[in-house]
């Protein structure tokens, strides 16, 4: 039967993608429905990219249960899927007596959660490790197991490998109705009129997981977005710090951090502001001020003139559950939640995925390992990595085989036509999708140069008319009005 699956995952952020990839190891028929034009386009793309050590989570919560096991899985995942991941370590810094006491509390929490290798450091050690931290620092809690990744590359890697192993992905499918058939199967309708059926639904719809749950009559939780503004700084700042730098947390957030990224530039943020509006993606003057005041207190060398770009992420925080994750079976048989996954959800995602697989298994989905499972992702050539080394012999060989690797499209990040075409073939057909997949347009000029070139390639490869090419899906066309000859003067 067409569009009939054992498991349908709603939402393809890092949680949905991690679950899909986990299930793809087994002989299970799985589909993902994503409402956006590309995967990770909701909360995940704006994630800070930190793989937390795990000392922030309170004992007894699901967060604490999944964060450390999740962290541990990243070495293997990175090896299999080859997304950038570095265990840089994190430092929670204290500037006075009171904050030093807070470090003790978090150290204790970390021990409860079995976070390995933590250390409480004195002033000298902190400044020795991070010479650009404010010299007024009094001490820090250090956790070397913390890491950094690129959240959307992680999501792309998971999705792409899941698809190679048989999972089907449907983009632009916003669920508009869910019902149950007489045979107990779920029937799902999407806004464009498509219909899907499945034995199980995994609700990984992030910000909208409460609305998805409502379709089957589950109303015991509500998602209130907690907005976070982040500012990406020039590569110059990347040399200032090596590790993730945290302040001592406040009641509702881990505070504003200074975060090295795997691509070089440093990020500062995020703010934490509860909002009723799931569409509140606007950065603000106040947010900028707040972020830089805190970040500069920790690392005084940071300047607002280093900002390359800014963005907003909305954490899907669940109300009615003490803000903890909502994971597992529900009162509706076959409907499984992976909802309210806010921080440390990225870190926890591989452990959550494994847990969901176990839940499905308990609920009756047979889990037989696929004999032909391909754990390794097909890896795209990244010309910028070759050029960074300034050794041209390897690059020369690649170019000999395929000239498209010598046609530079994005000059700031050294992305070639061949890489753009590869991303399009992977299914990234919006400018943002291509940007996240290849880095074209993320550099200093912020796509001033490559936008039209990427559009030409997209048009050529997909046949999408030039005027219908979008930034991030319908309604975001870049140059929507063809000029007819004879129009105007």
């Amino acid at each position: 039967m067409k569009n009939d699956y054992q498991v349908i995952i709603i939402g393809c952020g890092v949680v949905g993608a991690a679950i899909a990839r986990e299930l793809s190891r087994f002989d299970v028929k799985v589909a993902i429905l994503e409402k956006e034009a590309d995967v990770s386009f909701g909360t995940s793309k704006a994630n800070s990219g930190i793989i937390h050590a795990g000392f922030h989570s309170t004992k007894g919560t699901l967060m604490a249960k999944f964060v450390v096991p999740g962290n541990r899985k990243f070495d293997r995942l990175c090896e299999e899927l080859e997304f950038p991941f570095e265990r840089r370590g994190e430092l929670m810094v204290a500037f006075d007596e009171n904050e030093l006491r807070i470090l003790q509390t978090y150290h204790k929490m970390g021990l409860d959660n079995h976070v390995p290798y933590m250390e409480l450091l004195g002033k000298e050690r902190v400044l020795e490790m991070e010479p650009n931290v404010n010299p007024e620092v009094e001490g820090a809690l250090y956790a070397p197991t913390a890491g950094i990744i690129c959240p959307y590359e992680y999501c792309f890697a998971l999705t792409s490998n899941a698809r190679e192993n048989g999972v089907e992905l449907f983009l632009n499918k916003k669920v508009s109705w869910i019902g149950k058939q007489g045979n107990g199967k779920f029937e799902i309708e999407t806004e464009d009129g498509s219909r899907f059926t499945s034995d199980f639904i995994v609700n990984a719809a992030g910000l909208y997981s409460d609305e998805i749950a409502k379709f089957v009559g589950i109303t015991n939780f509500k998602i209130v977005p907690r907005k976070g503004e982040e500012y990406l700084l020039d590569r110059r700042v990347g040399t200032l710090i090596k590790r993730v730098i945290f302040p001592c947390p406040t009641s509702n957030s881990k505070g504003m951090l200074v975060i090295p990224t795997v691509d070089g530039p440093v990020m500062v943020g995020p703010t934490a502001m509860d909002t009723e509006d799931k569409n509140d993606w606007a950065t603000t003057r106040d947010g900028l001020k707040e972020v830089f005041t805190q970040a500069q207190k920790m690392v005084p060398g940071i300047r607002t003139s280093d900002i390359i770009t800014s963005f907003v992420g909305l954490r899907p925080a669940a109300v009615g559950n003490n803000g903890d994750f909502i994971i597992g079976t529900t009162t509706v048989s076959g409907f499984i939640n992976a909802a309210g996954i806010q921080s440390p959800g990225l870190t926890a995602s591989p452990a959550i995925a494994e847990h969901i697989r176990e839940v499905l298994n308990k609920e009756g989905v047979k889990m037989e390992l696929k004999r032909d499972f391909k754990p390794k992702r097909k890896i795209a050539i990244r010309v910028r990595h070759l050029l960074e080394k300034r050794d041209y012999s390897e690059y020369g060989n690649i170019v000999k085989n395929d000239k498209a690797y010598s046609k530079l499209v994005c000059r700031c990040e050294n992305v070639t036509e061949a890489e753009i075409v590869a991303a399009i073939k992977e299914g990234h057909i919006t400018l943002d999708g291509i940007k996240f997949a290849t880095r074209a347009g993320t550099g200093r000029c912020q796509a001033g140069f490559c936008t039209s070139r990427v559009m030409e390639i997209l048009h050529r490869e997909t046949g999408i008319p030039f005027e219908q090419i979008t930034k991030k899906g319908k309604g975001s066309e870049i140059a929507p009005y063809p000029i007819k000859k004879g129009d105007g003067k």
């Binding site: 900002i307 050029l387 170019v399 000999k400 000059r411 200093r444 001033g448 140069f449 140059a479």
Partner: protein, 414 residues
Amino acid sequence: MTKIIDALVIGGGPAGLAAAISLKKNGIDKILVVEREDSLGGILLQCIHNGFGLHRFKEELTGPEYAEKYIEMLEGTDIETMTGTCAIDIVNEKDGKTVYLMSEKSGLIEAKTKVVILAMGCRERNRGNIAIPGTRPAGIMTAGLAQKFVNRYGYMPGKEVVILGSGDIGLIMARRMTWEGAKVKAVVELQPYPGGLNRNIVQCLNDYNIPLYLSHTITAIRGNSRITEVDIAPINEYKEPKKSETFTLTCDSLLLSVGLLPENELSQIAGVILDKVTGGPLIDSNYMTNIPGVFACGNVLHVHDLVDWVSEESEATAKAAAEYIKHQTIQKSKIPVRVGNLVRYALPTVLEPGKPGLISLRVIAPAENATLYAKVDDEIIYKKAHKKIFPSEMQRIEIKKVPENAKMIHVYLE
């Protein structure tokens, strides 16, 4: 593939074209011009308005016409050109430079050359550089990108337009989009004076009743898929928006014309030292950077307002580069050029005694009834009264012969 040449010109825009032709005229044999786009001409190709060439050719040309003049001159020579080719690395070696080129047609090329002329031009500052609060929808782009869409691709990015910044490209696009039936609702400028040339304010805004809001800024951008509106507010003397006087304009596009930055990533890879004010390489009076044999001209050196001066500067650069190839001529004695009152920068920062000199400069802010001076030690050698002088207009001071025993040259406005 390896290429052995005398001179490599990086960039096939107005600076690169003029430099290459001038190198040839000065007797240089093997010249290669590389251009990353598919055709020569650089940004001129999308500047289909006229006003180019008044100084050079004593006629009013469009951008493509101006470029065509140089392309024709070049085609009459044996200068080699490679389009679809990008220089990615410059390695400075004892007996010359090795430049790595990525070419769409020929793959990776190792070019061994005696001199390199940097002529990569500039790029537009963007939203990130100015950190406008708000959402990140479609419909926000630099004025230059909008110009490319309209003039080269034949597509309008929007119909209800707000323009932030009053740089020349923004002004030109205000008129261009009006011609194509768009409603340009406002040009918003943070400074109390326009960023672009006065003639463009008159011909592109005033003639079409497009309002120019000086000392205003955009305080919010709204819309998730596509931009729907912006908040505009006047600013106080600390450049902070006055909240109570904020007003909102609906729009489907926001063009940014907030300044140009010389494009020097490649120069930096090569080890070229940049001037903090211009963003271009520090040069001597021969347009040579701190790396012997590496020269720079045009907008990669400093942002010009008229292409005519780009051509002239590039020819002078090529002449000096040719001397270097033939005789390893380098500037021996250097007299510093210092900027004084109200002058933002002067270029070059050193001149050579006994030789003619040309100083290009810009003032910091507009001034009325002011006199521009150049002084060698205590002697005034240049003096010109200006009724009005604007930062948007590059000033040029020609010195016939720099005195042999000069210690310092000082340029200032009074």
